[in-house]
């Protein structure tokens, strides 16, 4: 196949959500009168929490196994594994290496990317580039997060938002007639890197030099994040459409990062796209950070929200600040 005819086809998907399900009412560390505000401000009513003996790679492996089973793919045929996570098992090595081992994907290289909540958009673009280059025939993209371990359980501005989970997508080389990834747009603004962060634990602020234990937890300036998302995401989607020669009305479904129901509604309204075309499952799972788009994609396909041949946009935004979108014919 000529390289310029090569396309990156979405061949299979999978996801895994931990069994433990917490309702807002279960968050007894917060005042009773504050509980209704969680649903109202975020749209989140439940979240899943990893078991004590489950870490990010465990969730990733379960999602990846379901994905490979969905596509009838032999793990030994997988050539590369990209794991998007901002809550890795350890500082090093890459969490993807344990995933590779536990999957039995002996032929695959494996590495992590950390684009925080934008992991899926960046991961899809990366998988697309590796396959389109002609160097690889397939890539398994997995996104997995266990934010319950990096959140301050007493911080009302972060803890109720998030949930744990993992999603996976298997991409293979194919022809334009089969559809596939058409175009991606990626953006970063590092000048706003403090807006969403876990300040301690890296080389900038090692745990040993931490003066406040709070620095080890995830923090987010919620109102600023809201403004960032509703300003940048519509602009990005406009650019994705213009560069692809496609209209917003051609898009069957928008698989958006499940950050907050009010953000998603605002984006839909600003684009004059019916809200129903933005798939949502955050009511049930909360914000699963970098994993949310792949979990939603798997669930939307399973529910028949979209069918083979449909044009779909995946879009995510978060820490970095980073934001990105992919146009895919399913």
């Amino acid at each position: 196949m000529e390289m310029n005819e090569r396309r990156t086809i979405l061949a299979a998907t999978g996801s895994y959500l931990p069994e433990k399900r917490l309702a807002n009412e279960d968050l007894t560390q917060f005042p009773r009168e504050a509980i209704p505000l969680i649903g109202e401000k975020t749209g989140v009513y439940f979240r899943r929490v990893a078991a004590d003996d489950e870490c990010t790679s465990d969730l990733a492996v379960r999602a990846a196994k379901r994905c490979l089973a969905d596509g009838g793919i032999d793990p030994e045929k997988v050539q590369g594994i990209i794991l998007a996570t901002s809550s890795p098992d350890r500082m090093q090595p890459a969490t993807a290496t344990r995933v590779q081992h536990l999957l039995g994907a002996k032929q695959a290289f494996a590495f992590d990317i950390n684009s925080v909540c934008s992991g899926s958009a960046f991961g899809i673009a990366l998988a697309d580039g590796l396959i389109r280059s002609g160097q690889y025939e397939n890539i398994l993209l997995v996104a997995s997060e266990v934010y319950s371990r990096i959140l301050n359980p007493k911080d009302y501005t972060t803890y109720p938002f998030f949930g744990d989970g993992a999603g996976a997508a298997f991409f293979r080389a194919g022809s334009p007639a089969e559809g596939g990834v058409i175009h991606s747009c990626l953006r970063t603004d590092g000048s706003r890197s403090d807006m969403i962060s876990v300040p301690a634990g890296g080389t900038q602020l090692p745990f040993g030099k931490m003066t406040n234990p709070r620095a080890a937890f995830f923090r987010m300036r919620g109102p600023d994040v809201f403004s960032f998302a509703v300003e940048e995401v519509p602009e990005l989607l406009g650019r994705l459409m213009a560069e692809s020669g496609v209209s917003l009305s051609d898009i069957c479904s928008f698989i958006c990062h499940q950050a907050n129901v009010n953000i998603i509604h605002k984006i839909a309204d600003l684009l004059h796209v019916p809200r129903e075309r933005f798939f949502m499952n955050l009511t049930e799972y909360g914000n699963t950070a970098g994993a949310s788009v792949l979990i939603a994609l798997d669930e939307a396909l399973a529910r028949g929200v979209m069918r083979r041949g449909d044009l779909v946009v995946t879009v995510s935004f978060g820490g970095g600040l980073s934001w990105g979108a992919n146009l895919i014919r399913i």
Binding site: P31, A34, L37, K154, D155, Y156, T157, R214, P223
Partner: protein
């Protein structure tokens, strides 16, 4: 009053505000003037005051128009909270 303010400022910095945020905050500062203040942050402040001073200030009294001086008053004299709630709800 000064002691209460100093303690409140210290725990707020330790628990959920950035040092940069606190440079602009005085006793007369309204909650709405704190960078990134919203109703979610109000809940954190409510928890913090309860844990530090054992005083429960209803969320209705931690809205944007409230100033730290008001909160210090509630902490110093918790009995005034009920009056403030009545006033807020339009009852004498």
């Amino acid at each position: 009053m000064r002691d209460i303010w100093e303690k409140l400022k210290t725990v707020m910095m330790e628990e959920f505000l950035e040092p940069d945020d606190m440079t602009v905050v005085t006793e007369m500062t309204k909650l709405a003037e704190i960078p990134n203040w919203d109703s979610m942050a109000a809940v954190n402040l409510q928890i913090l005051i309860n844990e530090t001073f054992h005083v429960e200030i209803p969320l209705d009294l931690l809205q944007e128009g409230a100033a730290f001086a008001d909160l210090i008053g509630f902490i110093r004299e918790p009995a005034t909270i009920a009056d403030a709630m009545c006033k807020l709800n339009g009852r004498s």
